[in-house]
């Protein structure tokens, strides 16, 4: 009787396991798939975990098989009882052998898992130390990755020297050359975030006050999606990013563009009105290199100092609001990116045109598009009742000039 009831659950579980095996190896539209590596680090991790999944699967089959076999072989039927309210009773002579234990068996099933785990340990340690460390030369590209509620900033050091100001700063999308290991220094401006591009490598937490070394390397050209995975407050779920792996020549060209400053426009230039609106409303948070000049209480330009220099006693920022909102995405080359606002929104539609309506909604009322808490100096503020329709139009026109 109970056997009939058992089967649906077990059958479903079996289907799940089979589905797991299938999907773990299938390619599909799964941009964050940890089992579809596109770089050597992610490949190493997969090579380590697949055999361990197989071992776990075998142990699982053995244990579940034992449970089912014991049920099948040693079950006894319920006694006939009309009320069915006194289950579990046995006849007085219904006793199996009263085995209390077996030392040899205990030793065996203590040693066997120990040996198995020792083997797994060896491979774990090999992979762990293999993944640790940086192969890149000292003068190779390095990127400082900064997490901030709720988006990512990337500071490029083209010559690999992270002790000097970055060559340029961008947001949400990190462009790297393919087939080159790119060392990262990962940190945070506010709370703990976690940097993760699952097809390239595992996670590294971004901890404020620390700079942790990590690497990304792509073996193929493409856009690789990422997600912040450490809970960091209100909009944790909207904190995404991309890594775009391109040909080295293309990377060089892109970088050459990124180091360019934006022009400071004259009254006669197209977009002048928009730039004025931007300077009046946006420059307190955003930087456009060549246009804005963001300074702290001591007159140091924030774009020119290392992230955590602002926390030295002698150079401490006066207004804590700046801690969370003062350093906003660098917009100098906004239009060279594909996504914005934590990579949650597409900048271009499928035809390659700017999603202007969405961008206007964002600029006009960012907290409506993505949970922000500007009253607590977290995220971008709302300009409802501040910008007129014309000003909004002007400033978005201006944004579109930031190639």
């Amino acid at each position: 009787m109970s056997a009939a009831r058992r089967r649906p659950g077990w059958a479903r579980l079996g289907i799940l396991v089979a589905a797991l095996a299938l999907l773990a190896t299938a390619c599909g539209d799964k941009p964050l798939d940890t089992m579809d590596p596109a770089g050597p680090e992610a490949q190493s991790i997969k090579d380590l975990i697949v055999p361990i999944f197989i071992i776990a699967g075998i142990v699982f089959v053995l244990v579940q098989g034992a449970v089912i076999a014991l049920w099948w072989k040693f079950r006894v039927d319920e006694p006939e009882d009309p009320a069915d309210e006194r289950p579990g009773t046995y006849a007085d002579d219904e006793f199996p052998d009263q085995v209390h234990g077996n030392l040899n068996l205990e030793i065996a099933w203590t040693i066997i898992p120990t040996v198995l785990l020792a083997v797994i340990s060896v491979f774990t340690l090999i992979t762990l130390f293999d993944l640790d460390g940086v192969d890149a030369a000292d003068d190779d590209l390095r990127i400082t990755v900064v997490g901030q509620q709720w988006w990512w900033e990337f500071q490029y050091h083209l010559d690999g020297n992270t002790d000097t100001p970055p060559d340029f700063v961008t947001a949400n999308e990190m462009v790297i050359p393919v087939d080159q290991q790119v060392p990262l220094l990962i940190t945070s401006r506010d709370v703990i975030h976690s940097f993760w591009i699952p097809r390239l490598n595992g996670k590294q937490d971004a901890v404020p006050g620390s700079e942790f070394e990590w690497v990304v390397e792509a073996s193929e050209i493409g856009d690789f999606a990422g997600q912040c995975t450490e809970f960091c407050g209100l909009s944790h779920g909207y904190m995404r990013m991309f890594t775009n792996a391109v040909e080295p020549a293309e990377f060089e060209a892109w970088a050459a563009e990124q180091v360019q400053s934006a022009p400071l426009l004259d009254e006669a230039d197209e977009g002048f009105e928009g730039q004025q609106v931007f300077l009046a409303n946006c420059a307190s948070c955003h930087i456009i290199t060549g246009v804005t000049s963001h300074v702290d209480a001591d007159g140091d330009n924030l774009a020119d100092v290392d992230t955590w220099d602002v926390y030295d006693g002698a150079n401490k920022i006066v207004d804590p609001a700046i801690l969370t909102a003062g350093v906003a995405p660098n917009l100098t080359h906004l239009m060279s990116r594909n996504t914005y606002a934590g990579s949650f929104f597409d900048l271009y539609d499928d035809d390659g045109n700017v999603n202007r309506a969405e961008l206007e909604e964002w600029v006009f009322n960012a907290p409506e598009q993505k949970p922000n808490n500007p009253e607590n100096r977290q995220g971008m503020t709302s300009f409802v009742g501040v910008l007129t329709a014309e000003q909004l139009d002007d400033v978005v026109d201006y944004l579109e000039t930031l190639e």
Partner: protein, 671 residues
């Protein structure tokens, strides 16, 4: 020894000084053993256990409803059921509720009810402290939940990583309720742990040496030791957090040079022992159920005991496996990775010993047995995914995804919840004097098993496909749509199962008068609690039993004949104590535990809103302490002058407590 001097024991009953009976004359103790007041002021470990269990089930429904909201929000991409802020509050409260207000107190319910009657004691060592523990837990639990209507629930996740929990990033009061409330429930856990440890160490029946104790009691002892060492660490962390939030201290303020990983270390030094605090009670429960329904003794009893101790102790050395991605360095990661894996060895010993107990047995799949075997089966899945987490390079892919959500729901729901549900079905006749209906029980089990696997099985896939945890929304095009919907459907199957259980409780109660009473020993049990009446009499045992062997009660029912065949020596009805003895000295009820426990939440509200409330709470607490101390040892009309901590148990009753042993002397007991 000079360090503490003790006089020789005076066992004669001298006349107590008259002053002892009424030191002040006004602080008397409550009377009566029926009605709501008898529950409010009780110090009886059995009633306290029942109240823990009832409260835990209520919070289980609350936490379950929170889970259903989570699943509804995630059923579709771009869900709109909950906004981001509310979602963060809901998942935080779901986790806090399930861990601290459901799983831990449900374990405490079993511990409080069963430990004294499994070791042959009349009550716990400190009955009034026991009542205080319960009311402290309930006060803290209600305190945390009132945050919903007093400015918003905590929204930092159950492990509340700094610096996100600082005022700058979390300005509402939710996290104040979290930090203060968990300190209040922590006091309850700590006091209860001390009480239960002393009970097991000091109040075991004559002859019950350590290795004659049931496995359940052993596992609960390990749990209490874990609590004793773990709660102070989380207390320090919460104190620092409250100092930061209320008094602008800078322990977690990075701008002032703090290291945010300090919180992570403190939390997980508590948090990893916490997970074994959750699972070991369930392991103890199924160690009692499986032998009964296999009709065999537990296989490898010493190994079962030592593996539980090993799990409890090894749990102290692996906390940083929750921090593999946090930058602690490869040497530390290597050390914690390896040490974590090897906890699978004692856990595997348990799994295999349960299977070996079943091997060759007469397996009767009653509802408790179904739940027990379900634990063996489902917990193994969660344990194995735990081992894959211990592979630290792989964990950097799996951590903070739904793969880990699958891991811990398989070990917690598949281990703790299934195990304790089985325990409820097993001991229900002992506690309430009637059985839960078997048909409804089996329906409860199967719907729960199906729903559970439907809900959490898909999460393994979602995690490996990259779905992060704690995200309120996901987009179509990420590949998460189908399995999230399956998971949501599964969660409602679980809700159906819980409704079936609630209905079973009600129907069984209603039908009980029409059925024959279960008697003291409905399952032909092995341990001591089956040797007294059902429901358990207030004084537990008419006579304190004299213990000669492991499973002593079973050996008094069954012996071996000259051919080695098992023969009945006596029926349970013949040798079980019927609970009819009167005049047994017991601790009297007391007003002060609940009064003292009332002061703590008042202090908490005062810290958050107005310090005058704290002063009021402090006055209540201090007054309760004085009342407690000055209270006469017993009901002044009871005619006893003894202390209420049972120190005179053996001195007073002496040999009269011995159950007659003559009947068993003629036949050698098995084993």
């Amino acid at each position: 020894m000079a360090i503490t001097e003790e006089p020789p024991l005076e066992l004669t009953t001298g006349s107590a000084p008259a002053i002892a009976d009424r030191p002040l004359g006004v602080l008397t103790r409550p009377q009566g053993s029926v009605g709501w007041r008898s529950w409010l002021f009780t110090v009886d470990h059995k009633r306290i256990g029942i109240m823990y269990g009832a409260a835990a089930l209520v919070f289980f429904v609350i936490g379950g409803i929170e889970a259903l909201f989570i699943r509804l929000q995630l059923a579709q991409p771009n869900g709109t059921v909950l906004g981001a802020d509310l979602y963060n509050q809901v998942f935080t409260m779901h986790g806090v509720t399930m861990i601290f207000l459901v799983a831990m107190p449900l374990g405490a319910a079993f511990a409080n009810y069963l430990i004294p009657i499994q070791i042959g004691a009349r009550d716990v060592a400190f009955p009034r402290l026991n009542a205080f523990s319960f009311w402290c837990f309930l006060g803290g639990a209600i305190f945390i939940n009132t945050s919903w209507v007093l400015g918003g629930a905590p929204d930092g996740g159950w492990f509340a990583y700094a610096p996100n929990t600082g005022v700058l990033f979390s300005p509402t009061n939710g996290l104040d309720f979290f930090a203060i409330g968990l300190q209040i429930t922590g006091i309850a856990s700590l006091v209860s742990a001390i009480n239960l440890i002393v009970t097991v160490v000091n109040l075991r029946a004559p002859g019950m040496t350590w290795f004659k104790m049931p496995v359940f009691t052993w596992m609960m002892l390990v749990v209490q030791v874990l609590l004793l060492f773990a709660i102070p660490v989380i207390t320090v962390a919460l104190v620092l957090l409250i100092f930061d939030r209320l008094y602008d201290a800078n322990f977690f303020n990075v701008a002032e040079g703090a290291d945010p990983l300090l919180w992570e270390h403190l939390f997980w030094i508590f948090g990893h022992p916490e997970v074994y605090i959750l699972i070991l009670p369930a392991f103890g429960v199924i160690s009692e159920i499986i032998p009964v329904f296999s009709r065999k003794p537990i296989f490898g009893y010493p190994f079962m005991v030592f593996s539980g101790i090993a799990i409890g102790f090894m749990g102290w050395g692996v906390w940083a496996h929750h921090m593999f991605a946090s930058g602690i360095g490869p040497i530390s990661v290597a050390a914690f990775s390896i040490s974590t894996m090897f906890i699978a060895v004692p856990t595997g010993v348990k799994i295999l010993n349960w299977l070996a107990t079943m091997y060759g047995g007469r397996l009767r799949f009653t509802t408790p047995m179904l739940f027990a075997v379900g634990v063996v089966s489902m917990f193994t899945i969660g344990g194995l995914s735990g081992v894959t987490h211990a592979v630290s390079p792989a964990d950097t892919q799996q951590t903070d995804t739904y793969y880990i959500v699958a891991h811990f729901h398989y070990v917690i729901f598949g281990g703790v919840i299934l195990g304790l549900f089985g325990g409820m079905y097993f001991w229900w006749p002992k506690v309430f004097g009637h059985m839960l209906n078997e048909k409804w029980g089996k329906l409860n089990f199967w719907t729960m098993l199906i729903g559970f696997n439907l809900t959490f099985g898909p999460m393994h896939l979602l995690g490996l496909q990259g779905m992060s945890r704690r995200i309120q929304t996901y987009s179509s095009g990420q590949g998460f749509d189908f399995w999230n919907l399956v998971s949501t459907i599964g969660s409602f199957v679980i809700a159906l199962s819980v409704l079936i259980f609630v209905m079973n409780i009600w129907l069984s109660k209603r039908n009980a008068p029409n059925l024959p009473p279960p008697g003291p020993d409905p399952w032909d049990g092995r341990s001591l609690e089956w040797s007294t009446a059902s429901p358990t009499p207030e004084h537990n045992f008419d006579y304190v039993p004299d213990i000669e062997s492991l499973d002593d009660f079973w050996h008094r029912k069954w012996g071996e004949d000259e051919n080695g065949r098992i023969v009945r020596l006596a029926s349970a009805a013949e040798i079980a104590q019927d609970g009819s003895r009167t005049g047994v000295h017991l601790p009297s009820p007391s007003y002060w535990p609940i009064v003292a426990a009332t002061g703590l939440p008042l202090i908490g509200y005062g810290l958050i809103f107005n310090l005058w409330l704290s002063a009021l709470g402090g006055a209540v607490l201090l007054g309760a302490i004085y009342g407690w101390i000055m209270e006469p040892a017993d009901d002044p009309d009871a005619g006893h002058g003894h202390g209420d901590e049972h120190d005179d148990e053996h001195g007073d009753d002496g040999p009269d407590d011995e159950a007659p042993a003559a009947e068993t002397e003629e036949v050698a007991p098995v084993g």
